[in-house]
């Protein structure tokens, strides 16, 4: 994270927690002001309606919130998991064998720029409705993002390190496990972070495929009945999930790559 340190301050700098609290207060004020306006209020009802009324409505009356949450998490986890286990070997293949890279890379870049929503129906026609197309869609998106990131990492490994290992007697296997793999870990972590983000942002497109439940599917359903308060709650929930996942990745990153030289140290 790039925290910008205020320059040349005499006073004791505020801690990050205080800044976070301040930022939350600012957001709440903006939200409150929006909820006061006539037009903006229709889209952004304040906490009272969005959470205190909507939460029991969705969780207990309609009994869908938990189901939606679980369904979406299963799709993201499965899609991301598949994306992760396929992106790593593909990234290595591309880094090791130039023809693989030359043939595959342009298409990854081509497909990456097409919104998933556009080709979602094609997946449905292929495999039918339900969770399967959603998982496949998330798989495709997370795979492309992670593959490109990890490939970039492997391709840019400091060749001097490989040379140094070789002159110390390392064989190909030693180089893979003791140089290439650890050198790639920071890029794999970055890929995971971007992949999880891609997974969540693909959720809406993924669940447009006739899903029975899901956070994305529910938002679309609620938009049909103009229920902005529960919709806003669902949107915020997706945001919170993203934030928590990011925090988890940061935690793992600190544990695994504390050896890295940070430029802004």
């Amino acid at each position: 994270m790039n925290e910008k340190k205020p320059e040349k301050i005499k006073k004791k700098p505020l801690s990050n927690k205080v800044w976070l609290l301040l930022s939350l207060i600012v957001a709440l004020i903006v939200w409150y002001l929006l909820s006061l306006g006539k037009a903006t209020g229709r889209s952004f009802p304040f906490i009272q309606k969005t959470f205190i009324e909507s939460f029991p409505k969705m969780a207990f009356e309609r009994k869908v919130l938990w189901k939606d949450f679980c369904s979406s998490m299963i799709c993201v986890a499965a899609g991301f998991g598949l994306g992760f286990v396929t992106a790593i070997p593909m990234a290595f293949l591309m880094a090791w064998y130039t023809p693989v890279q030359k043939i595959i890379m342009p298409w990854i870049n081509f497909i990456r720029n097409i919104p998933a929503l556009a080709y979602a129906p094609l997946i449905v026609i292929m495999v039918g409705v339900g969770k399967t197309p959603a998982i496949i869609l998330i798989w495709i998106c997370t795979f492309m993002t992670m593959c490109v990131t990890i490939y970039g990492g492997i391709a840019n490994i400091d060749t001097t390190l490989v040379k140094a290992a070789r002159v110390l007697g390392a064989k190909d296997m030693d180089i893979f496990f003791r140089i290439t793999l650890p050198a790639t870990v920071p890029f794999i972590i970055t890929a995971v972070r971007l992949g999880l983000g891609a997974g969540l942002t693909t959720l809406l497109a993924a669940e447009s495929t006739g899903a029975q439940a899901g956070l994305g599917m529910r938002i679309r359903a609620l938009s049909g009945t103009f229920e902005s308060a529960p919709m806003l709650m669902y949107i915020i929930i997706i945001g919170i999930i993203g934030m928590l996942l990011n925090m988890l990745v940061n935690f793992i990153e600190r544990r695994l790559t504390s050896w890295q030289e940070k430029r802004d140290q």
Binding site: T160, K163, A165, V167, G169, P182, A183, E261
Partner: protein, 263 residues
């Protein structure tokens, strides 16, 4: 060592190397022949682009010569080998490993027992004066300390020949002087064959028994200067009248080459 009959450790036989690039072929080395004796300290100086690093890489077995061969103890060099240790300018420490693990790397590659690897590593960490930093990561060390680790790592493999590619080039003047003195001391004690590349004429004369001056484009050996200043040497050697004479001599040759490159 004076008067002692020494055998040829490293024989560089008519090495030619060209690179094929987008803008045609570049000749990096054009017929380099050189004999380096057992336990000899040889420095190679020359302007950037004269192929001195290429030569080192070929001796290390990291690059292949287009034609010509290098021989170690009479056997042709075809691949990297643990009997040839290399110290790189960019330190090339493994950043995810502690100092101890970095120095242990070579012995571990020989599949020695862990306790033995650690004992060897600790011995050489002590030799380079980094006791107490065994568990530090490279990012916590200064440039001079990093290069000490790299030297310890090369020594831990007990190589017969040390190949050093501008190892002190990235260090500040004081650290550089200190490491030169330490290297001299170590070499005077352990007398390994040293092939040392530098662009610093002072450094070359201070360290070497022979200074090889290379010319640029294509890289050839221009002259070999014997440094007839007795060991032990230290930084004070730089004030020796003979040192100053040799310095002027070598410097003029190198500077001419530098001007050639600039043309």
């Amino acid at each position: 060592m004076a008067g002692e009959e020494r055998s040829v450790k490293l024989h560089i036989d008519n090495v030619y190397k060209e690179y094929k690039g987008e803008h045609g072929t570049t000749v990096a080395l054009n017929g380099v022949t050189l004999d380096i004796m057992e336990n000899e300290f040889v420095c190679v100086v020359g302007p950037s682009g004269c192929g001195k690093s290429t030569l080192l890489n070929i001796i290390a077995g990291l690059h292949e010569a287009t034609s010509g061969t290098c021989y170690l103890d009479g056997k042709p060099i075809t691949d990297v080998g643990v009997e040839r240790g290399v110290v790189f300018q960019q330190y090339a420490l493994f950043p995810w490993q502690t100092v101890l693990k970095n120095v242990m790397f070579g012995p571990q590659m020989k599949r020695l027992p862990k306790a033995e690897c650690e004992a060897i590593a600790r011995k050489y960490i002590k030799l380079v004066g980094l006791e107490g930093f065994e568990n530090s990561y490279p990012k916590e060390l200064s440039g001079g300390m990093k290069q000490r680790v790299a030297i310890a790592r090369a020594y831990a493999n007990n190589p017969e020949v040390l190949l050093m590619d501008e190892p002190f080039g990235a260090l500040d003047a004081q650290t550089r002087a200190q490491l030169q003195t330490e290297l001299l001391k170590t070499w005077e004690e352990e007398q390994k064959t040293c092939f040392f590349i530098t662009h610093d004429v002072d450094e070359a004369i201070l360290l070497a028994q022979r200074v090889v001056i290379m010319s640029a484009r294509p890289g050839r050996i221009k002259r070999i200067v014997d440094v007839d200043i007795p060991y032990p040497r230290d930084q004070a050697t730089k004030n020796d009248p003979r040192f100053l004479e040799l310095k002027t001599e070598v410097w003029n040759e190198v500077y001419q080459e530098y001007l050639e490159v600039r043309k």
